[in-house]
């Protein structure tokens, strides 16, 4: 839709901008001596009124020849050709007809070149104005999109963090620790450390935009190590991870929610437990993550799905159309495939995990 025609306020402003131009043009005609001021006014007011609308067609030039992608020479030629054609129709045909109507034909014929020249200039002016308007709209839209993306990212982060500390997981793990304190104190301590590591690293994830996939995998592994103690032989794990992929950068909390979903809807719903398979690979410029688990088809769905929806949304915010997420159920197998463009690890992004290793080392000594 035309940005000026669509908005009555803009249209009024645009037409108001034409008033000084009309006066100027009438002044020029009057100064030639062929017209009186009144005659020039009589002719120019309706004529310029018509041309104001003709010049709105410059918008379509803007749309079909955007400033950024068009060759400048071709653009200038096209705009001026359009200006010449418009002006020829306006000054030549419409102007003539009006001049006859007002009985000013001889004067008009003498001053026709001035009118024609003014028509070309006015159209060029209108084209410039429309290009400026288009640039303004584009930048405003880009700004709005950027703002929305950052709001979404923050929201997703917050929600992911909330989902992270799933009360079921937390309290059941604490209960397992409580059980182990009597039967296997060393194991109880091990689980305390695992749980602390997991909580600490997931809390830290929130302030970072991208982390190496390897770090995300480490988080998922510590989550699984805790679940392994809870579920014992009911949780069976397989991994196929290529080193080329783990150095790639990903938004934090991308893999962990998928693994968590596999545990809550796979392992926890089956009497004999389930196997979870994690595959991470890289082919050229794409990274692929697959999390597959067996599950009980008859189990009630209940809660959940939130973590998965989070992952989907984060992928959208971070990569747009360049990422994909596919969820498939075949028989008693549940599979999630996530693909996104590979981003190389930078030195800065690698620094934090090294630091974390030291901190953990210190704490480990304190405990022992």
């Amino acid at each position: 839709m035309h940005p000026i025609l669509a908005d009555p306020r803009r249209l009024a402003l645009y037409l108001a901008a034409w008033i000084p131009l009309v006066l100027l043009l009438a002044g020029v005609l009057a100064s030639t001596g062929d017209f009186t001021w009144i005659q020039a006014g009589e002719l120019m007011v309706p004529l310029a009124g018509v041309y104001a609308f003709v010049c709105l067609s410059a918008w379509y030039l803007c749309r079909f020849l955007p400033l950024r992608t068009s060759a400048i020479f071709y653009l200038l030629v096209t705009v001026n050709a359009a200006a010449a054609v418009s002006s020829a129709i306006w000054a030549g045909a419409i102007g003539w007809a009006m001049a006859i109507g007002f009985g000013l034909e001889p004067q008009y014929l003498r001053q026709r070149p001035i009118l024609f020249g003014a028509g070309v200039l006015l159209f060029d002016l209108a084209a410039a104005f429309h290009y400026a308007l288009a640039a303004f709209e584009t930048s405003r839209q880009a700004q709005a999109r950027a703002m929305q993306a950052s709001i979404l990212a923050r929201e997703a982060e917050l929600r992911a963090l909330k989902a992270q500390i799933d009360p079921h997981f937390l309290f059941n793990s604490l209960h397992s620790i409580s059980a182990l304190t009597a039967s296997d104190p060393a194991k109880a301590r091990e689980m305390c450390v695992l749980l602390s590591d997991f909580l600490r690293s997931s809390l830290r994830m929130g302030d970072r935009e991208r982390i190496p996939l390897g770090e995300e995998l480490a988080l998922a592994r510590s989550f699984l190590a805790i679940q392994q103690i809870r579920f014992g032989s009911r949780l069976r794990l397989e991994e196929d991870v290529s080193d080329g992929a783990t150095v790639c950068l990903v938004p934090p909390l991308l893999l962990q929610p998928l693994v968590e979903n596999a545990v809550t809807h796979g392992v926890a719903t089956r009497v004999d437990g389930a196997s979870i398979r994690i595959e991470i690979s890289r082919t050229g410029e794409r990274v692929a993550i697959r999390v597959e688990n067996t599950f009980d088809k008859d189990a009630r769905r209940g809660r959940g799905g939130l973590g998965m929806a989070n992952v989907r949304k984060r992928l959208e915010v971070c990569y747009g159309d360049a990422a994909s997420m596919e969820v498939r159920e075949t028989g008693d197998r549940f599979r999630v495939d996530v693909q996104f463009p590979a981003e190389a690890t930078s030195v800065a992004a690698l620094a934090p995990p090294a630091q974390r290793g030291e901190v953990q080392g210190d704490e480990g000594r304190d405990i022992q």
């Binding site: 309290f171 039967s183 926890a268 719903t269 008859d298």
Partner: protein, 248 residues
């Protein structure tokens, strides 16, 4: 001293271990079975008729509430759960004993004391408790029915209709009849009102199964189901049907 026979039900071994450990100072309680899922729990109760059940809420196959529905209200139950805001509210409202994981010996002993006092009294109606433990606006997804030691699970979308029979409801699903001890009004409130409608004092029908409505007497009608079965429709039932189907 009477021995109290108890069954521990939890899918996590470590969690069962905790209950075991906390029962050590209570020789009057004898653990007669440990079950890792709801099916085993229902079977153990049928075979051993224990006095007391420690019952986890989240489990594979059947959850704690479904187990309670299947075993009936005659056994004292202490629920154990890690976190479930709606279940907790239901326990409070119905004054059911429960233990929040993790728990210590003091809390466990207190819950055991209360449970002992309740031995021999009835639990609140299981289906009411289960309904109270569901999140608001969440309806039953499936109905569990026990026939002797056999447990049947009927997904609600496969239920054709339900008919009141004294203290029971007859459930018709895929050409088979099932009997469940529940009132039809209770069942009605548990089912999604957009899919099931009470067409008569004694009947609830799955809207998708209705093929047509035919006049019967001057002010009563019958609903004809896809398989030819005819169910009576009362005048108020017809009004509800019309509202749901959006007809004037």
């Amino acid at each position: 001293m009477n021995v109290i026979r108890a069954v521990i039900v939890d899918d996590e071994e470590l969690a069962r271990q905790v209950v075991h450990e906390m029962l050590l100072p209570h020789p009057e309680v004898e653990v007669v079975a440990e079950c890792a899922n709801g099916f085993d729990a229902v079977k153990a109760v049928a075979e051993l008729s224990p006095d007391l059940l420690f019952l986890d809420v989240q489990m594979p196959k059947l959850d704690g509430f479904e187990v309670l529905e299947l075993i009936g209200p005659d056994i004292a139950v202490v629920f154990t759960t890690a976190y479930d805001q709606y279940a907790l509210r239901a326990f409070e409202v119905h004054a059911v004993d429960y233990l929040l994981k993790p728990f210590d010996a003091t809390r466990f002993d207190a819950a055991l004391e209360r449970a002992k006092e309740r031995l021999g009294t009835k639990m609140p109606p299981p289906s009411e408790l289960a309904a109270a433990a569901r999140a608001p606006l969440q309806y039953l997804e499936r109905i569990v029915v026990r026939d002797g030691p056999k447990v049947d699970i009927i997904p609600c979308e496969r239920l054709d209709y339900a008919e009141a029979q004294d203290d029971y409801v007859l459930l018709r699903s895929q050409g088979k009849n099932y009997l469940k001890q529940e009132t039809i009004s209770n069942l009605e409130t548990s089912l999604d009102p957009a899919k099931f409608v009470r067409i008569h004092r004694s009947y609830i029908v799955n809207l998708e199964r209705i093929a047509k409505i035919e006049p019967y007497t001057k002010d009563s009608r019958v609903a004809v189901l896809g398989d030819g079965m005819k169910l009576p429709v009362s005048r108020s039932g017809y009004t509800r049907l019309k509202e749901l189907l959006g007809e004037g």
